[in-house]
Symmetry: C2
Subunit: 330 residues, 2 copies
């Protein structure tokens, strides 16, 4: 079938606004280092006014993952919501230019397009402040179920759980994916997000999610345990595949009886950790949808994560297919 | 006087939209490598749709120079025109966040804010396509003459000569600056720009300009000579100070009986030459307005140019004052 896709994702359509700031800046504005916080218009204006000169680069967690998938040579489509404004046009241009199918028409009324104010500190850590805008108004009507049916994997980000309508969109899409015999992948997104939605996330992981992505903070938050190994034990009985990332300690893939441990891959100096998890998911999903074993898929994830943290922005700056080279030859 | 400024500039208020493209891309779209071309809405839409994923960074030649001046620790103000839209807000935020005074209110009707579509090729060369938009509608009413009077140097970019109203704005500002006993500095901007306005530029340089900035292509185009040395002979009798840049061959400063030759300064690998001339002007103007000799001013210019070509974008990514360090100690 020519129009079969590797991955379709539903996520927030955001443009990242990145500046370099000091730890003192974070403290002065009551920002939790490394966290993602949802902000309203007033707070967005206040923080933006306080930020230093910035760079705008398209972002959005699931959207970043799809761009990584196409950079490896895979096929992908995005479902998300932008307004008919300049940032919406920027988002649409960039994701399409990366080869991701994105057909949704910009919304002509309602909130402006979403943006994420990201402060990068000298330790390369990013602190994110998301004004969802038009993205928060995503609902079941935005879900193209035919598109969902076409993809081997439906990828969903936990971030959108903050909006009831978006949740309905997710549920609809997940049903359609399973009906079509496809897999559902889910990322826990952020430990604070997990805290807000723990019970629902536990249900989801147990009942609907085939492939779970989480970092150490997120997976321990989900099971309310202190220790990564405890979380690992718990997750093994909860879903088909769990891909757990541990920053510079690499990643652990758990799948029923298999456990794969992979090291982090260093591509260059660490400049900005924004998008590390998104790109790990990209490499892993590319591997999974192209018949690679779980260990190789995890290596591809680690490579993509290593690349993206070597520069500003959450999307690859080079061809991941070229970077992966021999890893892709079988 | 506490409100005395080092430099005030009038220029195009633009946001740069940068992508990496191949030489074949330039050829396919009839683009002249390294040139700046003015484009209309239709061409802007066509080129943007064809470009790869991009990054948005505030630009505008004279605006970039002012940000360089403040990065050295100088004081600066900008006169330019943006619309009341998201790119206008981005431009305003970034220049103010860099410490440049920019008080103009965004225009509520007319064209959208200007942008410059920049293709960076693997040789680090940039090819620019400017949609001026709101910026082209700058006129004498936009010139705050009190602000002009406050600055030691009024800096004008040749680019705006393409618009009759902007030219009037420039003439008004230049008169005010000279009446107040200040210097007028001018950059030829681009050799194609020089071709369009040669006679007027020759008049300007002979009659109004105290400090002239030009690169090799621009100064030879101005005097219609093939040889840089011939151009140098000619310019020596035309204005007080001429700062002539020659890419990797450094710069030559000509001032009546003085000639200073400075080498290019290498700060890192050459990634993107966008802004090299703008930042040379920044360092030179900072030096000039802070009592440094012409040779040191040229060294500061070479340093700022070396920094800006080591990364994507036309504004400094680090403190130029810190980078200059010992050069600033006398």
């Amino acid at each position: 079938m020519t129009d079969r896709l590797d991955v379709v994702a539903i996520g927030n359509a955001l443009v990242d606004v990145l500046s370099h700031e000091s730890p003192e800046f974070l403290a002065a504005h009551q920002l939790t280092p490394g966290a993602m916080e949802l902000i309203d218009t007033e707070r967005a204006e206040l923080l933006y006014a306080a930020m230093g000169p910035a760079v705008e680069i398209s972002g959005g967690s699931a959207a970043n993952t799809l761009v990584g998938v196409t950079s490896f040579g895979g096929s992908a489509a995005f479902i998300g919501r932008v307004a008919d404004d300049e940032l919406g046009a920027v988002f649409g241009h960039d994701i399409r230019a990366a080869g991701v199918e994105f057909l949704a028409k910009p919304a002509v009324d309602g909130e402006p397009s979403g943006r994420c104010l990201i402060m990068v500190t000298p330790d390369a850590q990013r602190t994110m402040n998301t004004y969802l805008g038009a993205s928060a108004q995503l609902g079941p009507a935005d879900v193209d179920t035919d598109l969902v049916a076409r993809a081997q994997v439906l990828y969903l980000e936990g971030y959108l759980w903050d909006e009831p309508e978006a949740k309905e969109a997710y549920r609809l899409a997940a049903r359609r994916a399973h009906d079509a015999g496809n897999r559902v992948a889910f990322t826990l997104s952020d430990s604070f997000c997990v805290d807000r939605h723990r019970h629902e996330f536990l249900d989801l992981v147990a009942s609907e999610v085939d492939v779970l992505f989480a970092n150490e903070a997120e997976i321990t938050a989900l099971f309310e345990v202190d220790d990564f190994d405890d979380a690992l034990q718990r997750v093994q009985h909860h879903c088909e595949i769990a891909a757990l990332t541990r920053s510079e300690r690499g990643a652990v893939i758990v799948a029923r009886d298999e456990v794969h441990v992979v090291d982090a891959t260093r591509v260059g100096d660490v400049v900005d950790t924004t998008g590390a998890g998104d790109q790990f998911a990209a490499g892993f999903l590319f591997g999974l949808t192209h018949g690679y074993d779980l260990g190789t898929a995890a290596h591809l994830g680690a490579l993509a994560a290593g690349e993206v943290i070597s520069h500003l922005g959450a999307r690859p700056a080079t061809s991941l297919a070229a970077l992966a080279g021999p890893l892709l030859d079988r």
